[in-house]
């Protein structure tokens, strides 16, 4: 029983990270109809920026906020320079754009900070809580991701800018007719996705360690979460992310032979299964298009 609870809490902690990655993917998907395959590399790069700032002696939380802010601006720059010109281009052209971004960030990080694995600090420490049920860093991950997700919910639900972003994503032409600058809403979506990814990266880095490929598995789980919840639903992405985190930990512990090595294939199995049996996900709606 204790083992089960421990694994559920561990699953919630990593699930929060997957939820953030899934949400970042869905935010961009809603705005431009493409999956951002470089979302993980963006988060990785942001985490390296935070690491560098901490190395320079900047206190953790300042480095945390600064890295998120730099990522926010970076997201706008990426959208303006790379994806705005691809706005009306084919899916393949966009895909190449994502691969380019992926390679640039991955190799760039390797070039600047090299490929040796680095430790990343946690401000929460690693003390056991509740008799070993959860450790302080895991509790911190849950707290930070929950706060971030709540903040995003409030932003989209209760502010005029959030409403404008939702409108621009749902119906760009009508949004223009009420005076919304749709292009800038897309850029803002990229900015927020980049910042959310940065937070996820900084929270998971103490667990998976810092190196240019650290986010590959994390993004895969994030994709699984987004697909499970439904790519058209931000709420679904968040729920899906948490579910994937819990499933991953339970399967890794209780299913024989699954263990650590096969855990990653679980994400792929989930993606394939959802796409086969319920392509719109738990919360998504099926998209009907007139041809």
């Amino acid at each position: 029983m204790d083992l089960l609870l421990t694994q559920v809490f561990a699953g919630l902690a990593t699930g929060g990270i997957y939820a953030c990655m899934a949400l970042a993917v869905v935010m961009i998907y809603q705005a431009i109809d493409h999956l951002n395959f470089a979302q993980g590399e963006m988060a990785m790069f942001s985490t390296f920026i935070a690491w560098q700032l901490i190395q320079w002696g900047i206190p953790y939380w300042f480095a945390f906020l600064l890295a998120a802010a730099v990522s926010f601006v970076g997201g706008i720059v990426i959208e303006r320079v790379l994806f705005k010109p691809l706005h009306n281009a084919s899916i393949l052209a966009n895909l190449v754009g994502f691969i380019a971004l992926f390679s640039i960030l991955n190799s760039g990080a390797g070039y600047i900070w090299n490929y040796t694995i680095k430790t990343f600090p946690t401000p929460f420490g690693h003390t056991n809580l509740f008799g070993g049920l959860i450790d302080t860093h895991e509790a911190g991950m849950i707290g930070v991701t929950a706060a971030l997700l709540f903040f995003l919910y409030a932003f989209f639900r209760f502010t005029r800018l959030g409403l404008a972003m939702r409108a621009a994503a749902a119906n760009p032409e009508s949004a223009r007719l009420v005076g919304i600058r749709v292009g800038w809403m897309t850029a803002l979506g990229w900015a927020m996705a980049a910042a959310v990814g940065a937070v996820a990266g900084m929270m998971i880095a103490p667990v998976v360690f810092l190196e240019p490929n650290m986010m590959l598995g994390v993004l895969l789980y994030g994709f699984a979460g987004a697909v499970l919840g439904g790519l058209t639903s931000p709420l679904g992405a968040v729920v899906g992310g948490f579910l994937v985190g819990i499933i991953e930990n339970l399967a890794g512990t209780f299913v024989p032979y699954f263990g650590r090595e096969l855990k990653l294939s679980l994400a792929l199995i989930l993606i394939v299964a959802v796409l086969m049996f319920k392509p719109s996900g738990i919360f998504g709606r099926s998209v009907v298009s007139r041809v």
Partner: protein, 235 residues
């Protein structure tokens, strides 16, 4: 004149949809663009909002707005109720109305205007927290007009407001449009298939045929001319 259009051309890709049409409109007045399907009525409205590639001259209060981005034209007070109503179907009725005032400032004034729209369209008030996509066609058209009024427009463009509505609802809607025009002095340009209805509301009419204005005159005269009615308006 508040709106002056001179030699307006419009293209969809390589296809030319309008041929040097000219018309105008003043504050507090209602004019209508009539014509058969494919005559270019919708294109003319879209051209005014920068939604298609255009040539020629569009002036609003003497300011040349041809080639401007849609968002910037809207900011001058041009509200457009597009073909198909442009409803944000996943958002609530109230969010749709708030979006109409997106370019305005002043929370209290906007809230008061939402109440004013509700007073004009009580059905919308009953459904304020409902997803707009669940509304009936008539209610969605009321919502589209309400959303356009939330801009406090100087120029209101309406694309087939009667489309798909029951006759009683159409009557109600047009009575409201007439009242809004008198109360707010907004200039209205209405595109309609239902020529009899539009000629009744408007003072002046333009008849389009294959992208050209072929007739232009007071609504009463155009409606009274049986030859015109038969050959262009189909009733």
């Amino acid at each position: 004149m508040m709106l002056e259009v001179e030699g307006l051309d419009a293209w969809y890709g390589e296809n030319r949809a309008l041929y040097e049409i000219s018309f105008g409109l003043d504050a507090g007045h209602i004019r209508t663009l009539l014509g058969a399907n494919g005559a270019g009525k919708t294109t003319a409205l879209r051209a005014l909002c920068g939604m298609v590639r255009t040539g020629g001259d569009i002036r609003l209060d003497g300011k040349r707005i041809s080639g401007w981005a849609t968002e910037d034209i809207v900011r001058l007070g041009v509200a457009h109720v597009p073909e198909g109503r442009g409803t944000f179907v996943r958002l609530t009725v109230e969010e749709n109305l708030q979006l109409g005032a997106m370019t305005r400032h002043g929370r209290a004034e906007i809230a008061a205007d939402i109440e004013r729209v509700y007073a004009q369209f009580p059905r919308l008030k009953e459904r304020r927290q409902q997803q707009a996509g669940t509304l009936s066609g008539g209610e969605q058209q009321m919502l589209a007009v309400g959303r356009a009024l939330m801009l406090r427009p100087r120029l209101l463009l309406l694309d087939e407001p009667s489309f798909g509505l029951a006759p009683l609802i159409v009557e109600e809607l047009f009575a409201i449009l007439r009242r809004v025009s008198e109360e707010t002095r907004v200039a209205m340009l209405i595109v309609e298939q239902n020529a009899a209805l539009a000629l009744d509301l408007a003072e002046h009419a333009y008849v389009l045929e294959t992208g050209r204005i072929v007739l232009d005159g007071p609504a009463a005269e155009i409606g009274a001319d049986e030859g015109v009615r038969r050959s262009y308006l189909g009733y």
